[in-house]
Symmetry: C2
Subunit: 255 residues, 2 copies
Amino acid sequence: MGALPRYQEIAGELRAAIYRGEYQPGDNLPQRVDLMNRYGVSKETVSKVYRVLEAEGLVQATRKSGTRVRRHPERLQLTRERTAYRDEIGYFFDLSAQHWRALGPVEINRAPAPGEIARLLDISPGTEVVIRDRVMGDPDTGRVFQLTASYLPADLVDELPVLESVDTGPGGIYDRIEEAGHGPLTWYERLSARAATAREVKLLALAPGVPVQRIVRTSTDPRGKVCEINAISLSAELHEIGYPIERHPSARPST
Amino acid sequence: MGALPRYQEIAGELRAAIYRGEYQPGDNLPQRVDLMNRYGVSKETVSKVYRVLEAEGLVQATRKSGTRVRRHPERLQLTRERTAYRDEIGYFFDLSAQHWRALGPVEINRAPAPGEIARLLDISPGTEVVIRDRVMGDPDTGRVFQLTASYLPADLVDELPVLESVDTGPGGIYDRIEEAGHGPLTWYERLSARAATAREVKLLALAPGVPVQRIVRTSTDPRGKVCEINAISLSAELHEIGYPIERHPSARPST
DNA sequence: CAGTGGTCTAGACCACAAC
DNA sequence: TTGTGGTCTAGACCACTGA
């Protein structure tokens, strides 16, 4: 027996075969019973093999018709602008997602701030914040594309109760915050990724093993107080974020 | 019995308890035997529960001392500039990662282009390309931070054999490509994320369930030919990519 | 060296989707 | 209807690691 457990070895062989192109997207992989015989292992072990590959997003199993190599969908190019625009409804940060709308009403709750958010808001973890949750998507097809959560520190909401109401008026929370003397806000975005939560898998209809891409935007007032954090989750399989690179004078073309 | 399998139900309860803060980072979760008794399930089922939570990057098991809620490391802010710089060694696209160096020699191979790369190079999948693989990291600690692969179409390498050699001279492949009449190159970057491959888990020392962030840069010559694709994999847990947002005139401050 | 996680089995049963 | 994936068990054994 090698250093790796049996099921990892078998997963490795199948993975390599997929990368070599022996199994093309859409092809069926050997079914459970065949692998049991071929490698002389039990059904549970074979299941473990396929669970590993499924968690990697490589294969997809359907009852009766077998386990297939996944076809990866084309990625939607999400040209994330580094510029904030504003229209009659409010602010937007994304030219290519301009037609997405909230599917259903905003959900507003008070809850302890998750660790990452507390750190960015510069409050101690577990402190209560106001959370405005939105499910965004294509209003025509009803397809969900992103989950948005807006985190507001409790002291700011006490000062500005409108932030806890469903309709925050023209220009949305940013205009209200700026009117209350916190303007002009400056924005900063951070891009990261992590494994999907159960909620994200369900709402974004993620295939097993697909991570989410995160866009976390902080809004800071001129005194340096972080007034809001806006966290977006997107399917990492469906989206990519693109931008052109400019040449610095040090990188002059040599033609 | 509900709609979900038993192990998913139990995983859900533990997950919720972690989010509620009943188990803090560093705390021990109940051990296998306790959960067997509490829920009246077998050891394999309990293992499956913890395998789910581990794949989500929520918990980490160590023999003898139990299964703990993971502490997530601080993210290294990777301020990805939108500007290409150049020094005596070559081009760089990342101010904050300037001191990273190749750990070990470049590995150069000819292999069929993976689907994603073929699409960007505008060649049919499986066409042979030249791949230059590098492992980058901190030269002092030896810690690996990113895997870099540079994909070059075979016809360009036939025209410019130096692209297949280890030392490509001052300014690297970009200067060689531009000197050969393909300059000035224009660059475009795409950010995405996906589940880690086995190689990435090993080389980047990723914890189970941690995805990789991908930065894929295309270099295009003035005639529109894509001359190179540079694909970087980073631990999504360790890095985030940040940038400030500017105000468009439409988003004037309302103070 | 004992305790905990990790792997594996043989066999049972369920549930869904294609036929 | 039936074949396929999916779940679960009871019990065995291994392997690492912290006291």
